[in-house]
């Protein structure tokens, strides 16, 4: 059963996933600690992918694939023909920089899909990244959230420009769909509805 929710023409439904997300191979990462506590979040701009990982990433020979940003950039030549066919999308994590993608791919709309991996529910950078991709960089195609995606983020993700949500595998996407409509008339302008409520409704003279 698919756990992918997509919004198409304003209607959300659970659909089959055409895309395969390509993962970097696991690496032995040094456990980072501060004051005895294991560090949970990576800092924005922090480089965490090794050359070895990029080289060792297994890319399926056929089908539609979403590859890690570092692989997309470093192994672009190898993927060129599939990119031209529209069979390659990119994913990146919340600490990675959009600029890194722009340097490689000036026209983001050449990408059929961009996915952002949110490692932890509490990581709200994903909302700013979605907003920037839609408003600053004019990205128009599928924008997907995956990772620790639970129903109580969906409303905010939708408002931040996401139209595709891969709900965490142990949770029901069917239950989660309802949360896309938690609030009917949000106050502030955002990606999905740029006008704030005071410009959308006549709230009295």
């Amino acid at each position: 059963m698919s756990n992918l929710i997509k919004i198409d023409n304003g209607t959300a439904s659970i659909v089959n996933d055409d895309w395969t997300i390509v993962q970097l191979p696991a690496t032995h990462v040094e456990e980072r600690k501060q004051a005895g506590k294991v560090v949970l979040f990576k800092l924005t701009g922090e480089s965490t992918v090794t050359e070895e990982q990029i080289a060792n990433t297994v890319i399926p020979a056929t089908g539609k694939i979403i590859v890690p940003l570092s692989v997309y950039v470093e192994r672009n030549n190898e993927l060129a023909s599939r990119i031209a066919q529209g069979d390659v999308g990119v994913w990146f994590a919340t600490h990675e920089l959009i600029d890194y993608l722009i340097q490689e791919q000036h026209d983001l709309n050449a990408l059929p899909i961009i996915a952002i991996f949110v490692e932890r529910f509490a990581d709200g950078r994903i909302f700013s990244l979605g907003t920037l991709l839609r408003t600053r960089y004019g990205f128009k195609n599928e924008l997907r959230a995956f990772g620790d995606v639970l129903r109580d983020q969906l409303f905010f993700l939708k408002r931040s420009g996401f139209n595709s949500f891969l709900v965490r595998q142990d949770r029901s996407a069917a239950d989660a769909v309802a949360s896309l409509n938690d609030f009917s008339k949000p106050y502030q302008g955002a990606v999905d509805e740029p006008q704030p409520v005071f410009k959308r409704y006549n709230r009295g003279a």
């Binding site: 980072r32 501060q34 004051a35 506590k37 560090v39 949970l40 979040f41 990576k42 800092l43 924005t44 529910f121 509490a122 990581d123 709200g124 950078r125 909302f127 700013s128 990244l129 907003t131 408003t135 600053r136 639970l150 109580d152 983020q153 409303f155 905010f156 993700l157 939708k158 408002r159 931040s160 949360s179 938690d182 609030f183 009917s184 008339k185 949000p186 106050y187 502030q188 302008g189 955002a190 990606v191 740029p194 006008q195 704030p196 409520v197 005071f198 410009k199 409704y201 709230r203 009295g204 003279a205």
Partner: protein
Amino acid sequence: MYKYDEIDQQIVDERVAQYRDQVRRYLAGELTEDEFRPLRLQNGLYIQRQAPMLRIAVPYGMLSSKQLRKLGDIAKKYDKGYGHFSTRQNLQLNWPKLEDTPDILAELATVEMHAIQTSGNCIRNITTDQFVGVAPDEVIDPRAMAEIIRQWSTFHPEFALLPRKFKIAVSGTKQDRAIVQAHDIGLEFYRDSNNKVAVKVWVGGGLGRTPILGSVIREHLDWQHALTYCEAIIRVYNLHGRRDNMYKARIKILTKALGINEFRNQVEAEWTHLKDNANTITEAELARVARHFEAMPYESLPDNDAGFDAAVASNPAFAAWVKRCVHAHKQPGYRAVTLSLKPHGSAPGDITSEQMWAVADLADQFSFGELRSSHEQNLILADVKQGDLFTLWEKARANGLATPNIGLLTDIICCPGGDFCSLANAKSIPIAKAIQMKFDDLDYLHDIGDIELNISGCMNACGHHHIGHIGILGVDKDGSEWYQVTIGGKQGNDASLGTVIGRAFSAEEMPGVVQKLIEVYVKERTPEERFIDTVRRLGVPPFKAHVYAKDEVTA
């Protein structure tokens, strides 16, 4: 004050439904403890030592009598018959049941109240001066802007999960009473040289573990751009603020790390894209919201009431109350009144259901049915006729709300501390009570005069101890509770952070330590000096020497 329309009402109603379902899922095991935590926190629900604590939002401190009556009802029905006003002008219930919290929110929604974003890593309640709208030194009444910011920040999708909590204060007075320099963003409204409303924007202030006063990021911003400029600031913070260490996650750490100039450059670069976007505030919207805050239908009165003057002259107890609890008003013949929630020997900021109902009645009878909460944890009736003050005093006194100690040593600002809060290192309420009992002589208190004493039970600084003239911080040393003392902190335009005087003290020593600090002041002061002035003139050494004098003898 602001009244909801159908849109506002629908949002709080939908929030109740959303939260009710979140609680249901948690109780059914569909949400883990870790997953439920950020959800409940954004609804003001903490899991505390004894029971959950629910923090109810009082936007910029404004309450109607109807709302206060309902809060009294809720405290009676779902709690132990009392509530606690916090230093963020909110009301906290210390003993609700988790299962009851959706019903409490549903009841709050019936009186246009909620608990949205009163905790968690999001934009918190907007705070301001408790004398907003009536203070003689007010240049701009910032309540309409505060309400516009409240609406904009409510469920702002981009800023729903920030690195850490985010606090905004607004002010529009010559003398700052909203501590704008101690907030993540402080918006100081003023009239510029063209007589237009403008904003001076402060950023990166905060108390807590790393106390820092804010820096000015922009001297002049047209009011229309207040929201988009905040969006630029918070976007830079959201993307670049630290998330790997919660103690270094506030915006003040980012602004310090980058330096205010680099931070400003990044914000201004971001703002070039956001300026003039749809969230730019229109004249029409400001006018719509401002209508809710128009001046009360005041009577035309002389500024002096003969009956009042006579009562002051003949009744020393009334005169003492007037001196401390009655404040100037911009309208002739009217005064603002502080109802003290600091009777000696009880928890600062606590109020019973019966008192809430009584205050609601007083507000209806004497102050147009409205009141305010202050960050000093008292309640204010803002629009009282001078001729009504004596009657009001008698009724307030009968309800234990007329302790004439506002601005005095026993008007202690105090967090709930280790009695309730699971973050605390030490108890704070018993310290406050012990100091109040030690200084239970009103004549002596009045002689000591204006002084602010703040107590926090841990370095999160909910009691704002860094900006107390005397600040007391509970610390944990090898599992026992100790208290570190600072002096010389101050709120206001000339804000400063206090200096630690030396080694920490046990709880039993604390009243004596405060006594010694006061002794130095009384001995050294010039006739015009307040405690803070003497500290600023002399510095810490004479105070330190006297407090630790005995140590030196035995050492």
